[in-house]
Symmetry: C2
Subunit: 233 residues, 2 copies
DNA sequence: GAGTGGTCTAGACCACGTT
DNA sequence: ACGTGGTCTAGACCACTCT
């Protein structure tokens, strides 16, 4: 552990990272407390705290009052994915983004969607099917339910220049939701619009969005075969 | 904006969150600068900074020096998944975790794996096939390549009480890697061990792990049909 | 009870990017 | 040039939790 004359929290963090990565501090081991490290690094305790807090958030350290700070035993626990904002994703590859709305009607959702949207039976809401394309090739097929009772404005929305997704992001505030990734087997319908064979394996993202306790929308995106979500650790 | 007598950064953060969620501050809009908010909340600027930094990391705010702080236009961009540590995942559901190693041999990897592991051709390394089970039902099928040149100890490892994954986590330090999620179509082999039909859609996680510039291991997990990754936003 | 991390403060200076 | 966020400090008190 060399004595650097740096005092930025980043420098401290890098040094601590090195100690962990090189197993100078081994998994499960207690590391020196903040005051001690502050003295070693020649900086304020707050600076050390800033550095260690970041590493704890990243999952590399376990910190508990009185118990001290330990190197996490099983350090890989989280992966952060950027959620595809389809237009950006496509345009980011230099391809031409477009979308086509196949279906737009009021409909009574099936029981599972009713449950997800916390609706009672028999109420019909807005249902949309949209295909996103990149350079005119099918990219993802979106089926979306919008709780039009909670968002009445959506009924008069024009989705010509703004996709349903972007319209919602722009017009309707939200404060939570959930997100599921799964593999699905292409139905005849999905195969048809995505131009793949029926039975193909597709990556599916299901998402619900809520605001102030109400569920606003429930959407499934089925991506073209070969689509991948990627991230660095 | 009510004047609270709280001064914790969490309280400030909650209040700012409320202003965003209720569109008191609209997407794209400039919000008051730190000094002003500090005065409004009756706290130090550092406290406001702490609160806003958190929201910026969460993707709700865009902050730039001199330009000030704005409400993000497209706030949903990241989702954090906890990476499945299979044993914990299974035991967490109250099920019995077990695994069985089907194959363990030295083998020359195919070209794509060679590339991923940054190996030159003709070198044989350790190859493992493992099935993880929950209550004796197939859970996930793992195919793993381990760069046994970088980790010679692995050749004498006994994987009876510790799965290859857990052995590596325990014995080999690492400092990076990457992570891919995709949908795959079950091959005959995968269908056989997972007890599903050939051609079924499976969620696949591919991961490489590196340390000090070297790629240590490349692993693919193919989960049983119906498996989902879930997270809240 | 006592040791450790968690947070707040008031002030200061710096880094950056808009102007 | 100047306004804004980014960071550092030294000290203080608090909150948790282990013993």
């Amino acid at each position: 552990m060399t004595e650097e004359d740096r005092k930025t929290w980043q420098a401290v963090q890098d040094e601590v990272r090195r100690c962990i990565s090189q197993r100078i501090w081994k998994p499960g081991e207690l590391i020196p407390h903040e005051a001690e490290l502050a003295q070693q690094f020649g900086c304020a305790r707050a600076t050390v705290n800033r550095a260690l807090r970041g590493l704890a958030e990243a999952g590399l350290l376990d910190r508990r009052r009185k118990a001290g700070t330990r190197v996490t035993l099983n350090p890989v626990r989280r992966a952060e994915f950027s959620i595809p904002v389809i237009r950006e994703e496509i345009e980011g590859k230099g391809q031409r983004y477009d979308y086509k709305i196949f279906l737009r009607e009021m409909r009574v959702p099936p029981p599972d969607v009713q449950a997800r949207l916390q609706l009672s039976g028999g109420i019909s809401i807005l249902y949309l099917q949209t295909l996103y394309t990149a350079d005119n090739l099918p990219y993802a097929f979106e089926t979306r339910w919008i709780n039009s009772n909670a968002v009445p404005d959506v009924l008069s929305a024009d989705f010509r220049s703004l996709s349903p997704n972007e319209w919602l992001v722009r017009e309707v505030p939200f404060d939570g939701g959930d997100f599921t990734v799964s593999a699905l087997t292409a139905t005849e319908k999905e195969a048809g619009v995505l131009g793949c064979s029926q039975g193909a394996s597709l990556l599916a993202l299901d998402r619900t969005t809520q605001h102030d306790g109400q569920i606003i929308t429930s959407v499934r995106l089925a991506f073209h075969p070969g689509y991948r979500m990627h991230t660095r650790l």
